[in-house]
Amino acid sequence: MFKKILIANRGEIAVRVLRACHEMGIAAVVVYSDVDRASLPVRKADEAYPIGAAAASESYLNIAKILDVAKRSGADAIHPGYGFLSENANFAQACADAGVKFIGPTAAAMNSMGSKTRARQAMEKAGVPFVPGTSRGVESFEEAEQVAAKIGYPIMLKAAAGGGGKGMRFVPAREELKSSLEAARSEAERSFADREVYIEKAIVNPRHIEMQVLADEHGNTVYLGERECSLQRRHQKVMEEAPSPIVDADMRRRMGEVAVRVAQAAAYTNAGTVEFLVDQNQNFYFLEMNTRLQVEHPVTELITGLDLVHLQIGIAAGEKLPFQQEDVRIRGHAIECRIYAEDPDNNYFPSPGKITLLLAPSGPGIRRDSGMYEGWTVPLDYDPLLAKLIGYGTDRDQAIARLTRALNEYFVGGIKTNLSLFRRILRDENFRHARLDTGFLDRMLQRPEDKRIDSGAAEVAAIAAGLFAVLGSTASDSGKDATGAASKRAENGSATNWKSASRREALR
């Protein structure tokens, strides 16, 4: 087993991996950019190495610097988290060349899934159902026109090297093909330095359902159940749940077996996710494979009782999977919210700044994977994901109830967050009845919000305003802050209490 793992990431996922390391008795090495010195992973690390300026290219994407830290620290493995270098085949190879174990698939497996067109070709060979379309990039507008006419509109234009919703265009009819093709190509060029664009049939109001797979380095591959990730805003996931409300045991088995075939076709090892689009007739089509641990892995952990990061580390250390497919059980329901530092009243504009107050929820069925703490200043240099809040229950309704309760306890002061968005989603009738598809959130956000004016609460606020002024100034007038004054009284009070308590104890 590894003695020391370098975590090539930041924020909540670095904390998550660090916790797994500590649970397994492995030392955790953390790297940090200049703006992350005070971050939570650095506070909890066993060793911490500065790796440069805030810009990701100078720090978290800098392969040379990270491998240098691996060498200096003597780390025998690297966990890449998600994003950053987690799906970078060059990095996976560089780790192998440097004799440091990359906790994830091989560079070769990544490459076979990294290009969307190459992935489609491999799926064709493996007999995996996928969205009708081209398995090669279209060479010309004329070819695109022919293919689109054959498949039938509406169609999707997609970048072969793409991801994250970039280089994608929805084309409803023939008239818009030419301009959309040009736009898609130039966006693909700008985002991925690759103009290759292919065509897929656009499925109307699809559900995005993905299957977690896990493979050891001894040829054993299993599926661990699906996640429903249809709640997206601009192709970015906002809320995920497991299991999918529309997948029964039979569909799970069929999708799972296909996902395993996909992983095997790519000679995949370690944790990965196979994404499917599901149409309104519950036909599922292979979309792509993500060759890393995903943000939303906690919902799978909760319904299977498995720790995916422990398993990743074990697999990378050469261990066989400690269970077989028939041992995997799905129990209960989990729903995750991604809490971002964004302003919901201002088009979800990133909202960095100092967190002045953090009241975080806990209690039954609540899991919180967080990178923030009270007093921390959220940097503006990275994706502003603060924490993941997950509600777990025996069924979907209980998970919703627990999550709603936890969201009402959750307070982040000093910055704007998207917490109110989740309260709104959980109240929504369609959400509660699991009527989901990838257009759900855009449609909900277009409807005007039902803003009830609570005059009772306004009066409470008025009284509170006065009380804060009186109670706050009493403390500051006496030359101490409120906590100082209170603790002094408490000290005096508790000194007497301890004395009398000990007397009482002695008398018993």
């Binding site: 990133p350 960095p352 009402n408 000093g414 609460a457 606020a461 006065g466």
Partner: protein
Amino acid sequence: MLYDVSIDGKNHRLELNRAHGDWSCRLDGRELEVDAVLARPDVLSLRIGNQAYEVKSERVGEDLHLWVGSTRFAAEIRDPRSLRNRSRSGDDHGPKKITAPMPGKVVRVLVREGDEVKLGAGVAVVEAMKMQNEIKSPKKGRVQKIIASEGATVNAGDVLAIVE
């Protein structure tokens, strides 16, 4: 103690007195039974009768927000008899500074000195993280002074303009 309190722009008259540890409270002429404990300087555990509330206080720049449960209110409080308080709290009748909410670049200034603006009118556009953010006037009034210029880099809290 007597206070003029404004909650989301609506004015209230609040009287608060404490005698022998008990509070007496009168809100807009109505007497209410009130009991309060500061759990933290910014967290108030408030009982009105036997109804319990947790109210959080948050300062964002010059603004005070009070959260009752998950509902946010803009609050302003003035002690009508205290001159010191009057000059410190920027109320609707004084000049208000408009500050940049985050570091970025001023890409456009939308008004000129002397312009009349409505509450919520756009004053400047600041770009950060490849997104443009329109900074709005917090009150109806006249643009007294413009400090930011197009192309300037700003830090969070930097004053962009003053509206009186």
